[in-house]
Symmetry: C2
């Protein structure tokens, strides 16, 4: 298909009368990012020749005219992908050279999600056969094969044998039924509850395709700060339409349930989990849901946390509450109970409260309850140590909760590739005989990972093009935690932007270093939660007047004239005591702890000598400077890549990077201005002074910041 | 470009092993509606051959390397459109046969927005020349020519000579800076204030293209219920980036200004328009805006209406307020002052209040003030008589305000093509020596039309595909009010869906009848404002308990045991007295008034004999039934058109029509159930009883209804 740019160019040669100069903006239609990593951009060169030679036809099982919808979806995706990868070459008449056979069924001895892609030959023709444990495996096989083809691999030599490391790979949407997304930075919710069940937007299918392509198999559609009315019949009908649409893609729906729903929507006098009427209400509600959605996944519950109702309102434990709901679901589904709890009354170090509440309950949760634990003990900070509950509850199913949306990492405007952060926590040795990933994937029984989604109504789904990479990385890591950040970045960037080695050689390192840049300019050396109040936009280290102490940045920094950092050693809160002894021993000494976690666990003097030879103060400044400089480098790198990227997305990323450059500088300057007001120290020689006095930064207000 | 569907089909022939059956959902990428009427779908048949033969190159003016951005945009659009219309044929090498010359400049004697397209010949080559009064005319000329080409007209015989009927053709966005759109049914605001001015979404360019293509040349970007902070410097910078982006497309930006802004954002003690400090503040503010946006259009103001501040708060008149702002703008811009006022204290018929407040001020407004008057005297009902202010203020610039978004016509889910409604008001004889359109386009000085926009973040811009037609129709009518609804519907449908005469023969009549269907099933025979409270979703004729009388549906229906309708004749409120005597005379008699307006002006007995031979009650039922039946017919008609429309949009429209069918029935049943409870009459023979008892309808609640 000819593009406008070409027309303009060729016309330029013929211009005479009024003089010409059509060297203007190209008319080529730019890409808008909606296609995600499933653009299937036409192959080139040898990769194109190989696929054109293979020239496959697609075969799927048919039982007397009935085709399983999952197989149909797999074949449909293969056809769409291959036609698109062939580009203009798809026009040629088929040679009948190749075969892709999609043959998933009845391999009863296999993990139902495992798929195998193997070459075969038949009557002189080459073929690739996708087999799997169940139909669902074939959709993974189809996407796995398409990924290989998209990366330009030779169809003749593709062999795959994959099974997910853990059975639950979920997205949690903090989407409200009115369309607002809590901590959403990509527009409005993608779920059009108002028009459901009558209208099913095409986006719901494309969303399922994207998820299936990276192995996500469960979606909690609504905010954990849940509205009870989403359990009412009209919403069950809406949910059922989504479940029907997503079933062919192997996705089960989950609902965030408000614990007080029996009171809220049915006027019961209590929601006490040990009250038989309450249990009966939930049992009937579960039956009602399963009548509409036979494969309903279950309930996700935020209870007794940040004002949400829960079993403790009735003097019952988290286990009492979770087990009552688990009994209602029976063997049909799962209760996912969040461990993100901290109390308005408890003066214990916030980082310790979840452990204190949950670890004593180890062994008391029903078998179809999973406790969902955030990666770190506070709240999705740019860097936290792993959560001490991992490894400490050997008789409980634990699942990891990660935040794909960047509440604390610069919203959608900052480029921060999160795979290295998740890799960091998954690979962390808990000291209890394994890593975090062993806990969530292997120890008791395989469990899973949940990611708080970053999707929205924006044309590119995630607000910025590079945030698509975090959705992708989350799914890929939940499928296979052994994948390296580098590989994930590389395959995402190749599918999303360009397979050109020059492009990948520049873009992938930029992605890999981006999260550490955010840590550097926001919260270096183990600092945390220095974001401004409520919306978490921009720096607010000075904030110290909020009613609950643990909502204040000053609670976390503990900065004073002598030093900075939260003493969580035995001389302080002793949060370290929640970790296995080997870990605690290493981290209890400021000299042996990883400096990246220093101020998380220790209050350290400003003049403390770091291993680098710098004082702590100098080291802090060094990190802020490195972070800001890294963003400048990212912007510079990107500016060299225009030839590989369509104009629309190139400009979008460029403009976002310009915002990030300015905001990184703002973070650095505001933070330094504040620390200087506390420690009275001057900046190290050569360090640039903040652009404005501290009062300027303190005076900035952003009532319109999104996502709150 | 080959589609997946074709691949699947051809593969089907070669299937052997597992048996085949790829008669499954096509992989073809469906259209999502983003392209609007600017899809430029490839031509076919003779139309394609003619354009391929013409095979134009494009020439534009160049001054020593400088190309005016508007000309560049025009050439860019021509290149994009022609390449797309040629489809696969754009691949052939150019013959150099044809020329399109874009030559707008310096025709000082012409209306600067007038364009002419004329054929010419040059050295044996055929050409089309676009000339115009100024650069801006050339963007209209380019879009005008592309419309002709898109409709399949022969390039050899295209001649156009057009100028807009009125100079101001505006969209008013009721978009809030937080992204919420008041009365928006298409998602979130299209304006990303958070990331402006740094990020300019491609949608902002495509929005400008769409507007320019239908002649819209002004945009008020924010809700008339305005936030004062949008006048602050950071928002001026954001607005300036939009103005820069839209300038090449001939669009000037306007800002809704909160009258109390000097108090709200600068702490002045008063916003009294006669206070010199207040006038000085606005003067300085205007200067500040013009420094950033030299072609800033001006302010749109909702004052002393529904709680908004205004000059009456200080004992001043609307003219005092408007003239003060007009002085601040000077000859640089325009104050558009809304006449939509009604008071919480005034017990006068709401339909009369705007006239009462404004007509005495005729002649007092400054020359750069326009008073913006809604089409009818109440509020964008499915049908209203024309507003009595039209024709009654000969010494004031009046502008027509229409609502493109369907607040009272079923939101985005009901198909209702509004051109016939606007045509009805534009063609209405005011009795003051002309029609409404003469008032807004010709009487004193040409003025304009404003449409309350229906755009949002939805992929298809307007929530439903057919609502794009209302955006299109508004612009086309503002450009040329002589265009018929039929022609507008036809050219829109051909560009948006299919040029096939079979398709147009079915779809165009469906569009043309759709608005009358809504009148029939919602508010027949001159009823108005029977919508439920606040959100205006669904029927609420029984509502009678709201604090302000004129917010209640019962205020408008005046239904009682004897009859129904609002007596606005001399025996009642005498709103009729606000109309010219010839009009008032005709409308004051229930026998001579158009039955479509009967209950607007008269309280009529249930057994009143209509000209149809039916009683009023029978006639009402007949209309409700006709409306619901019409929607059934629309759905049936659409179901026959699948071969002409891509799958995604075909299904989207089908699903919306199913919603409309159900809701039309709901409107009919709930209304009849309520009227029966008032009049005690049984239904005419053969009429179906309501599906539910009245209490059922009264009990329905929709707290999540959008747009409020």
């Amino acid at each position: 298909m000819m593009r406008g740019r070409e027309l303009v160019n060729r016309l330029a040669t013929g211009l005479v009368l009024l003089c010409a100069a059509l060297a203007l903006a190209p008319a080529a239609r730019a890409e808008d990012g909606y296609g995600l990593w499933l653009r299937y951009a036409p192959l080139e060169g040898e990769a194109l020749e190989r696929l054109a030679r293979f020239d496959p036809e697609i075969r799927i099982n048919d039982h007397a005219g009935y085709i399983d919808p999952t197989l149909a979806a797999a074949a449909d995706e293969l056809a769409r992908g291959i036609v698109s990868l062939l580009g203009d070459r798809a026009k040629a008449r088929p040679s009948g050279n190749g075969i892709i056979e999609v043959a998933c069924e009845g391999m009863m001895d296999m993990n139902p999600e495992r798929f195998i892609v193997t070459p075969f030959r038949e009557a002189g023709r080459r073929g690739l056969r996708i087999t799997g444990g169940d139909y669902g495996a074939c959709i993974y096989g189809a996407f796995g094969l398409l990924r290989e083809l998209s990366l330009g691999h030779d169809p003749a030599s593709i062999t795959l044998d994959e099974a997910p490391a853990m059975p639950l790979r979920m997205l949690n949407h903090w989407d409200n039924p009115d369309g607002h997304v809590e901590r959403g930075y990509a527009g409005r919710s993608i779920f059009d509850w108002w028009h459901l069940p009558d209208r099913l937007d095409q986006r719901m299918i494309d969303y399922a395709r994207a998820n299936a392509s990276i192995g996500i198999n469960g979606v909690a559609v609504n905010n954990v700060n849940a509205r009870a009315f989403m359990l009412e019949p009209d919403y069950i009908a809406k949910l059922a339409r989504l479940a029907d649409a997503w079933r062919p893609y192997g996705i089960r729906v989950f609902l965030s349930a408000r614990f007080s729903a029996p009171v809220d929507i049915c006027g019961l006098a209590t929601a006490d989990p040990l009250d038989p009427a309450v249990a009966a209400w939930w049992q009937a509600k579960a039956d009602e849901i399963y009548a509409a959605i036979p494969d309903f996944g279950g309930f996700l519950v935020k209870a007794n946390s940040e004002g949400q109702p829960g079993p403790q309102d009735y003097g019952r434990s988290h286990a009492d509450g979770a087990n009552m709901l688990a009994a209602a679901l029976g063997d049909r589904g799962t209760v996912i109970w969040r461990a993100f709890v901290y109390s308005a009354d408890d003066e214990t170090d916030r980082a310790m409260q979840a452990y204190n509440e949950f670890v004593p309950l180890d062994g008391q949760f029903a078998d179809n309850v999973i406790v969902q634990v955030k990666n770190g003990p506070v709240d999705f900070q740019p860097r936290e140590p792993f959560h001490p509950m991992f490894g400490a509850m050997p008789n409980t199913h634990l699942m990891l909760e990660a935040q794909v949306t960047k509440e604390y990492l610069g919203f959608a405007s900052h480029l921060a590739f999160l795979a290295p952060m998740w890799e960091e926590v998954l690979d962390a040795d808990t000291g209890h005989g394994g890593t975090v990933v062993r806990t969530v994937a292997q120890v008791v029984a395989p469990v899973g990972m949940a990611g708080v989604a970053n999707t929205g109504s924006d044309r590119n789904w995630t607000g910025s093009d590079f945030d698509q990479a975090n959705w992708y990385a989350f799914g890929r890591l939940a499928w296979n935690p052994q994948l390296s950040s580098d590989q994930i970045a590389r395959e995402w960037a190749a599918q999303t932007f360009s397979r050109d080695p020059q492009f990948l050689g520049a873009a992938v390192p930029m992605m890999l270093e981006s999260r550490e840049a955010v840590v550097d300019y926001m919260t270096p050396l183990g600092l945390a939660h220095q974001m401004a109040t409520g919306h978490h936009y921009g720096p607010g280290p000075w904030v110290c007047d909020l009613p609950r102490p643990e909502w204040n940045p000053c609670y976390y920094s503990r900065a004073d004239a002598e030093g900075i950092g939260f003493d969580r050693s035995a001389t302080g809160s002793n949060a370290l005591g929640q970790y296995a002894s080997a870990i605690a021993a290493r981290w209890s000494d400021p000299e042996t702890i990883d400096p990246a976690l220093l101020l998380w666990f220790h209050h350290v003097g400003w003049n403390h000598q770091m291993r680098s030879g710098r004082t702590l103060w100098e080291e802090l400044v060094w990190h802020y400077d490195r972070g800001a400089a890294k963003v400048d480098t990212m912007a510079e790198t990107w500016s060299t890549l225009s030839e590989y990227v369509d104009e629309e997305r190139f400009r979008a990323v460029s403009e976002m990077l310009a915002i990030q450059q300015r905001e990184a500088r703002w973070w650095r300057d505001a933070s330094l201005a504040y620390w200087q007001s506390v420690n009275g120290l001057s900046l190290p020689a050569g360090a640039e002074p903040p652009a404005h006095p501290l009062d300027y930064y303190r005076g900035l207000e952003f009532p319109e910041a999104p996502g709150q």
